[in-house]
Each structure stands twice: as structure tokens, then as C-alpha cells.
């Protein structure tokens, strides 16, 4: 299944790429991540907890980064499995400089989800994952703004506070209500995109941790 999406970061490309290499920022954008380690160059293992509606449990997986062209693009392949099911995906991410000094992040890929995640979590995963990606991007937007502000003032302290689990949960709940009005097609997009984005985020986090 082909998927694609974009997000505009309000800052220059180099700053965005660097931010993606700050593990503290990225970990805060991704709830549930438990453990990450590099097993080889550009090859990582991770453990995370997944909770999607009635489906929850530990998830472990592997990820490979390929075609890394800093600060422009990378390809990631990976998958994970655990009690809640399994997930396999491949995604391409591009960061494009734009004239107004913003950065366009484009991602496209293909994902395959199975097990209880797919068969029981289906209805919930749409909303939960959509929320995760939206909140994740919001967090990154704020983090970027804080980093840029710090750079401007020359301050070493970045005034950024990651959202708490409770805030995350609140956002998820809000989105669940909104989802009711969406068509099945819209839901499908939200279902796949976030999962890829989560992989992307994880991969970058892992890379930075490994480094």
C-alpha cells in the first residue's frame, strides 16, 4: 500500500536535520519508546510499548537506514513484532529547503500491519496513530522554534518543555472525537501515515543514539 505525506517545519533545513539528531527532542515526540541500540552501522534495534485501544503490549523491532544523504534524504526499512502483532515498512524521507526559509519534509512509503493491531485495533489505530503523528509534529515544531530562539539569543539553554504523557493522552482523546466525522478514505490515510512517521522518527532517534 503506497502512502505519502508532507509537513512544513518553520526553519532552515540544516536546523531541522540537526534537530532530528537531538535524541532528547525526538524521544519526547515519541511516547512508548523503551530502549534503542545500534547493532551495526545504520542498523538498529528498538523496544517500545504499544497501546492502541484494546490492544497493548511490548513490541520489538529492527530498522535499517539506507541512502543517507545529509541533510537531504534517507530511506528506512524496518519492522517489528510482539504480542500485539507485527509491522513491516519501507519509507523515503526528503527534506527540501523552501524560499521562505522553511523546510518541507516529504515522506512516502509502504507499510504492512498484521495481527491484533490490524484485526482488533483497526478502528482505534486510526485515531491513536493520527494523534501520535500530529502531536509528534507539534512537539517538533515547538522544539524547533525553541532551538532557533536559543540560537538567536546565543543562549545555551533551550526553552523547550516536552509534553507529558497526560497531555499526550488528552490530545489523543480529543482527536478520537474528531475522527468520527471522517470518511473511511481519510481514516485510511491517517492510519498508514502515522505509522511510517513513527518509524521515521524512531530511526532518526536511533541513529543519533547510536552516534
Amino acid at each position: 500500500m503506497k502512502i505519502e505525506g508532507t509537513h512544513v517545519f518553520n526553519g532552515p533545513r540544516k536546523a531541522v536535520w540537526d534537530m532530528f539528531y537531538d535524541p532528547n527532542v525526538l524521544a519526547s515526540a515519541l511516547p512508548g519508546a523503551q530502549k534503542m541500540e545500534m547493532v551495526n552501522e545504520n542498523e538498529y534495534k528498538f523496544d517500545m510499548n504499544v497501546r492502541v485501544g484494546p490492544v497493548s503490549g511490548a513490541f520489538s523491532g529492527e530498522m535499517q537506514l539506507e541512502n543517507v544523504v545529509e541533510p537531504e534524504s534517507l530511506t528506512l526499512k524496518g519492522g517489528g513484532k510482539g504480542a500485539p502483532g507485527f509491522l513491516n515498512g519501507i519509507g523515503n524521507v526528503k527534506f527540501k529547503e523552501q524560499e521562505d526559509n522553511t523546510t518541507l519534509m516529504e515522506y512516502e512509503g509502504e507499510v504492512n500491519i498484521g495481527g491484533a493491531l490490524a484485526s482488533v485495533g483497526q478502528r482505534m489505530i486510526d485515531s491513536v496513530a493520527k494523534s501520535m503523528i500530529r502531536t509528534g509534529f507539534e512537539t517538533l515544531d515547538k522544539a524547533l522554534a525553541a532551538r532557533l530562539a536559543a540560537k538567536e539569543t546565543g543562549s545555551e539553554v533551550v526553552d523547550f518543555k516536552a509534553p507529558t504523557e497526560a497531555q499526550f493522552a488528552k490530545e489523543v482523546a480529543k482527536d478520537m472525537v474528531k475522527m468520527d466525522n471522517m470518511s473511511a478514505e481519510t481514516k485510511l490515510v491517517f492510519y498508514i501515515v502515522p505509522v511510517v512517521a513513527v518509524i521515521i522518527l524512531l530511526a532518526v532517534v536511533l541513529k543519533s543514539c547510536g552516534a
Binding site: M1, A83, A118, S119, V120, Q122, A184
Partner: protein, 784 residues
Amino acid sequence: MAEKQKFVGQSIKRNEDPRLLTGNSTFIDDINLPGMLHIAIKRSDFAHAKINKIDVEKAKALPGVVAVYTADDLGDYWKPGPLQVPPPSVIKGAIFFARPLECIAKNKIRFSGEPVAVVVAESRYIAEDALDLIELDVELLPYVGDLEKTLAPDAPLVHEDLESNLAADVIQEAGSWEKAVAEADVVVKKRLLVNRVAGGALENRGIVVNWDQNLNLLTVWATTQGPIPMRNSIAKYLGLLENQVRLINPAIGGGFGPKIMSSQIDDVVIPWIAMQLKRPLKWVEDRRENFLGTTSERDQLHYAEMALKKDGTILGVKDVFYHNTGAYNPYGMTVPLNTQTHTVSNYRVPNFFTEIKMVFTNQMVVTPVRGAGRPQGVFVMERLIDAAAKELGMDPAELRRKNLLQPEDFPLRTGIIGQDFVEGILDSGNYPYALEKTLEGIEYEKFKQEIQPKARAEGKYKGIGITMFTEGTAVGPYEGCKVMVGVTGKVSVITAYSNQGQAHYTTFAQVAADQLGVKVTDVDVVTGDSGQWSWGVGAFASRGITLVGTAVHNASLKVREKALNLASKLLETPVDELELEDGVVRVADMPEKFITLGELAMRSNPTRGTVEPGMEPGLEAASYYGPPHGATGFGSLAMIVDVDPETGMIKIERLVITDDCGQPVNPMVVDGQIHGGLQMGIGEAFYENLVYDDYGQLVTASFMDYLFPQASDMPDKFEIYHSHTKSPLNPLGIKGVGEAGAIAPPACMMQAFEDAMGLDDMFITESSINPSKLYNYIQKAKGA
């Protein structure tokens, strides 16, 4: 010497209801044995994969886990099961590649949900926890699920030893389609899709097994619809005699088809484990497992054509269809053959060509679900008529009226071989009556001329649908029973037929009570216990009341004769001067001279002295009944629907059905069957849908996503009319009715939705629709 019918034909309250309503029935999960262990089944998350390794060591190490088995642990015991239904070799030119079910995946996984390991533990909790510790190392293979693409030359193969995913190809032709086309003024063509639905019984499947090695007796309680075939399958697998396996149906909370299956993991592997461990075992499916691990049905793609004269006379029908059998085809061709026999069965169609292309996919195995191929055939034919009506500018009711089979056409040889492997013969019927009664009941003309125009003027979208259906029922081979008068004067009816809620405890009792002069409440019916009655086939094809009912009738006549003969001797009165009533045999004109049935039963088993040669003790007789071919019920269904222009939701304002199942044994029970069937059919058309994603994951494996229609989704009233065209095939004139209601709703509702929108170019090609799609049509209708 048959007694006239006092109870057959009466709406008598059900014998079984007091115990059901007071919670005093024993269902499978109510059975608990000392020392019993619990089973959980590890099912594959993958739809298509090669198994490299299944690591169960961590699961085995979990405290409380007694054993874990994979296919390798079964050794030589592992083998693909027998086909439950034989191949259609009786049909000339039929191609069939038998790939029976594998009870547990050995080298390859062919659908998501396929069993890969079995955990036995001290409790169900522990067993389920252990499932999470089993690691499955697989090599993923490409998934195939599309009915047409599965036959593409480069499609991945579900069974590598076959050249393609073609599971069967069966062509049947009555008359000549070519001739019909040559003579036709119009040929309409449609590509029609029928969706996939679950049986969705309230109670899931389950099995409890107890092996007593001292008695050499394996007792199995199972929710099967076919106790005797399952008993025989278990005996054969384990090398036991039939009587060393006692198969008992506890109370069963619904079947609807899928529980007919045997030679699956439950009845192949679990009894074997029970003998290995020498401990009683229990396995009860949970709901998600039911969606993933229990068979389901429909899913056909039809390329259908109809040739007509300008005046609306149908000359012929051609239907080439793909039928999804899933990963295996253990149930043979039953479902698609039913489709072939139910396509043109209401109408005079001189030329009929029908071809089944049955295909393997990486999906759950397809076996009958209430309707079992019939709704597909009816959907195709009724949709073709609707398309033709539009093409010819005729009223849908008029086009149907013009082409209906007439009462004098019966019995009618159809030239099409059915699921029972004999040529279909429509035994009897009065189709025009059903159509006219339904049209009159729903006030068809009034709706078209007054109600609908008025609704349109008010911005409302109301439409009417009128459809016909037949229901092939009561096919062979046979069923049987034993009827006995006991020493208390009460009567026992014992059959190995299976009961899932069909009211057999009452209807069989009514048949027996009529011949034996007792109250219906004084007849005790036992179903599905191979320890009490050893022969039978199973609950499918709406055949229980006709086959077992007739056997009960015939056995009761024999017992009646025995009772009268014995009474004749004891009362020293000729038989023709005796009457059997109110539990006694008495001399007709001397009511004070009588003997009770209980006394006769006692005397029928002499304990001293000698007997005459050929004497058979007991007021007991057995009987078997097998019809030469099925009895065909029929009817007509009409609905008025109101589509909400703001939401696309629907209200069924009126529903009128005329049904004919020959002689109803209990009209209340017949109506109940029709209610349930209608609700299932409405669910199929608007609510229920089994959906696989592009990777073979079933994404509707819970009641959150698989929507059952609620009582509040039903019309306020099912308006039911009956006609009684008795079947000439059996003495009581009975036909089945178990699937009647479920057959026509999709065809009827799609016609009604089109009528509601009033769009010239609108034609619904799928048997299922949802509010979102209807809403799109409404937007078009608003613009029109």
C-alpha cells in the same frame, strides 16, 4: 392408520424455553471436569508465509504450562483432513483440485488465523499468556486475495503443487445460451459482487474432551452441527471404534453454518492431546479467534448476462462467476453449486449457462453460512431483472410477473445438478401467488402512485423493492431417529441431528405426539448424542424438520402399531376397534376398557416366559428417511426504505414477505426462523462485512468493526404471509425454512435504494452498501 394431525400445524410454545430462559441449560463452557486442562491456540498473524521455525521453549517454561505442540510434535498423526464433502465428480467435465484442511500448519501458512501451535495449561489465563511467548520465524510470501488476480499467470500460489490457484471449474448448461442470444432483442450485462459475511453465532465454537483409558471411551462435547461425521472423523484419526467415541452436543447458542466443519484443529488435535496427557481438556474460542479461526462465506464475483425479447420475455441467462474458497476447499462445491441451482429457479429461463471458477486465496476457508450460495444466485438474477426492467422501460414487478414459473410447471427438472449431486427438481410451488400476495400486502401500486411522489415532493428519498426467491431445502442423503414409549407413558425421541436453537425439542415432539396420543410436553427429545443414537449426517441445508421430522413420523407410526397390537392382545379386542388417545389405548365404544401406554411399555419387555419368533421388545422403533431430491421452498420479499438525505442512514419502513415452506409444523417457529433470516440478510446488505486488507489481514475481527444489525435497525414489524404448497416428497408435506429470510434482502434492498434515488444511471452492483455510499448517491439525486 395414521392419526389425524392435532399438533402439527399448531403454534405451540417451545418445550425448551423454560430451561433456556431460566439459565438452566448446559452450554459447552459450562462443562467442567475434575483435573481439566485448558487449551489456547496460537494462530498465525501472517497471511502467507513459509515456516522456518516455531520456538516454543519460552512458552513451555512458563509456570502452569503443561505442554505445547506444533505440527512437528504430532509426527505421523499429522495429515491433511479428509474432504468433508466429496468432489462433484457426478458433474460431467467438472474439474476439482482437492486441498483439504490442514489441522495445524506444518511447513506453510496459508491464511492469517491458521493454527500453528497449541498450548495446554492449568488455566486459560496461563495458556493465553504462553501464546505471546511463542516465536514464529517465517519467510513472508506474497499474499493473494483478489478473486480475479488470483488466476493471473504470475500470481503467488496458495498450493505450490498446483499449476494455478484454480480450485475447481464447473460448467453447467440447460438449453443453449448461444441460441438465446441469437433470438434476443436485448442482452443486459453486469459485473456483480457479493460481499463476505460471518456466521456470527452468539456462542463461539468449543470442545471438551475426556479420555477414559479404563473404559476405552473418549467422550467429546462439541458445538458441532454434524455430531456423527465429527465422531467418525475422530474415530478414524485415533484408530477407535465409533462406539468408543461418544460425541455429545451440549446446548448450542447458534450455528448458522460454520459449526458444520469437522477435521479441524479442535476435533483432530485436541482429542489426540487428551489421550497423550490422559487429562480432560477444554477449548472455547473467543470472539476474535472466531473471526480469525472459524469459516465464513459469500465473496463471489459474477459476470452475468440476460437475453430478452422486447416484450420482456426472458430467453436466457449466462453467469460466469469466481467463487472464493479461501486457502483450502474441504467443503467441496456445496456453496457455488447452490448458487448455480438458485440463480434462475423462480423463472422460466429456457437457456441457462453457468460456470463456477472456484479459486484459492490466502483467506479463511469458505463454507456455508445461512443462505449458503442461494443469496448469491438470487442476487444475480434479481439484479439482472432490475437492469433489464430499466433497459426495457418496464416495471420491475411486471417483468417478474411475466416470467415467473407457473403452478402447472411443477415438478420441474432444471437440468442443473445441485449440492446433493442430483439434478435439481423443483417439487412444487405457486410463485405467482407469493408475488401477488406480497405486492398487495405492501400496497405496491399505492406506493408508486401516491406515497412515493408525495415523499419526493417533500424532499424525502423513499423507495420500494420487490424480489422473488427460492430456498432449496431438505436434501439427502438421510437422517434417522428412534422413538420409544417409556414405562411412565412418556415418549422419547432420540436423534443425532444437531440443535442450535431451531426448536427441535418442540417440533419433533409435535410430530410424535400426533401419532402416539400424548401431550407435546410429554415427549422428550434428545439431539446430538452419539451414545444414544449412532447415525445421521448433520444440520445443514434447512433439512432438520423435513428429514428428521419425517423419520420421527414414520418411527412413531411403527410404535403406534406396536402399541395397538400389544393392546389388542391384552384387551382381547381387534385393533380396528381400538383408539389411542390421552396416553391410553382404549376400546372405542367402551372407554372404561383401556390400558395406559406406560403399562403397555412395561408389558412389551416380558421378564419371564417365552416370546414369538421375530418379536422385538419395547414400544420402540427406529426409522430413516432420505428423499430422492430436495424440497424447494419459495417466497417473495418486498421492502419500503427511507434514506435519510442528511446522514445516508436508512429506515426500513415496511417489510412484507410471503413464504411457503409447505406444511409448517409450528407456524410460530417458522416465523421465528424468518425473522432471524431477514435480520441476517439485512445485516449482510447494510451492516456486516468481513474485510481483508491488501496484505490478507482481516481488519474486521471484532464487533467494534463487524457490525451486527440491532433490533432497533429492524422495521417495526415483519409482515409475514404464508402459503402452504405441500411437498409431494414426504408424508407431512414439509419443506425447510431455516434460510428463507436470509436469501433475498440484499437484492431487495439495492432495488429499493435505486428506486428511492430515482436516478436513471444508478445501478448498484454490490450486495452490500453503507451510509457513506448512499450519501454520495443522495448528492447526485439532489443535483438531478
